[in-house]
Assembly symmetry: C2
Homo-oligomer: 274 residues x 2
């Protein structure tokens, strides 16, 4: 997936699959069905079943790296991404690692995401500023997804601080839209749990794409999030669900349940955007 | 190293080694001496030589995880930390990973740092707020090192934004000192490249310990940083040097050169604090 830039590839699969759904691949072996609990490479086998069951219904997969790192399962993460490449080459992979460090170190994190794992996009934290983001942004064909307004309850503590009549998250959104996005490869993270902020950031950033966590287990309202955040064309959102899809069922038919949950989410999103 | 809390252990080794020096274990194989360039487990062998050469001179080691992750060298990181435990059990290990995510995911990152790697402390990013830090803070005997004022040139972009008469980094410092630090296990990252900010944050946070990157390759002035940031008792700083020590020499005697550079840094710091 290196022929075209990330935005073009994402738009193509959104259209082909008629979907803004992103499945978050956040494996928690304690929640796996019993036949996988003690299987070798259980994480990869679980992910493979989820991908097989949902690949035609999604616009992206988003593995959250802490779920692998806590378990020393880097090889299974790499194998999962390689499997998606093989099974669903049109579906981009967003490595959710929220990295952020000074430039020379950020270059190593970019190498981790794009070199080692071959991800199509990566999430990063803006706190260190542009020079710390630049080693990621230099990958012009990749997607760089900058945290703006996160989905957690405590997001307000710093993100809502008022700076000269604007809130910090609004300033982050504007800096990214107006400066960081010179190569057209930036996206923003905006939580579904904050629909008013979704609308506000949409108004400030035009047609930028948002990665939207927070539906499902975190309680964000799908219809409200879509209506608040979508572009005029009814798109511009990558709406992630992890636990709500992965653990929709707990038995041997978990992948069937995951497909059903993915379909339901796609339907709910599409009803709201039209 | 779980009998006492992190602050107590850190203070003990600072006194025993008469040192505020932290060696950053940021391996870059291209900079290794030629006899290690193609050795199996070159990263571990390099780190082992550095630890052997410096263990009596430092108050902490700080492996920066991106340098391992970019190379798929998690096993060599784990082995390095285990080696420090064995060779220098009194010297704490700060895992520099600058993690930050919503609570349920932050718990996985805490498991990575403290469970998988057995680190004594970890660096985290404050942008998501207290609830995202809490899964780390719950480890009362560990050190939680919160980014406050980073050492890079671009730190000003967001960290210096004015919020009701204070700058964002000042608010982060105060929130951490007054609220996040209820268990007494918080530290702050404040770059040596910003001595005025070091003094300002010292004035706002009393006796909190700062992890201070930015001397050496990044250009921070040691004497100025120490005088600006130290506590009244002439301590409270963990001053990190990575490249300036690891790559002080490039030949077979690199560890000798690293010891000399560590001694020089310790001497310069101690001259400034007395």
């Amino acid at each position: 997936m290196t022929e075209t830039n990330f935005a073009t590839r994402l738009a193509a699969v959104m259209q082909a699959h008629d979907s803004l759904v992103c499945v978050g691949l956040d494996p928690e072996p304690a929640k796996f069905p019993s036949h996988l609990q003690h299987a070798p490479r259980a994480i990869f086998e679980f992910n493979r079943a989820i991908v097989d069951a949902t690949a035609d219904l999604v616009c992206a997969y988003k593995p959250q790296i802490a779920h692998y790192a806590a378990l020393g399962a880097e090889a299974q993460l790499a194998d999962t991404i390689a499997y998606i490449r093989d099974r669903a080459p049109q579906v981009p992979v967003i490595l959710d690692s929220k990295r952020g460090d000074i430039g020379s170190t950020a270059a190593k994190y970019a190498e981790e995401a794009f070199g080692r794992y071959g991800a199509d996009a990566v999430t990063i934290n803006p706190y260190l500023g542009f020079d710390a983001a630049e080693p990621f942004l230099e990958y012009a064909d990749k997607g760089i997804v900058v945290l703006c307004r996160t989905s957690n309850a405590g997001a307000r503590e710093f993100q809502d601080l008022e700076v000269g009549g604007k809130k910090l998250y609004q300033i982050v959104a504007e800096h990214v839209a107006q400066h960081w996005n010179a190569r057209g490869n930036c996206l923003l993270v905006v939580g579904a749990t904050y629909p008013a902020e979704l609308a506000d950031i949409r108004a400030r950033t035009g047609e930028m794409t948002f990665l939207v966590p927070g539906v499902g287990a975190q309680g964000g309202d799908v219809e409200l999030a879509v209506r608040s955040g979508m572009t005029k064309a009814g798109s511009g959102l990558v709406i992630n669900s992890s636990r709500g899809i992965l653990y929709a069922g707990s038995g041997a038919d978990f992948a069937v349940a995951a497909r059903r949950a993915t379909l339901e989410l796609r339907t709910a999103i599409n009803a709201a955007r039209r």
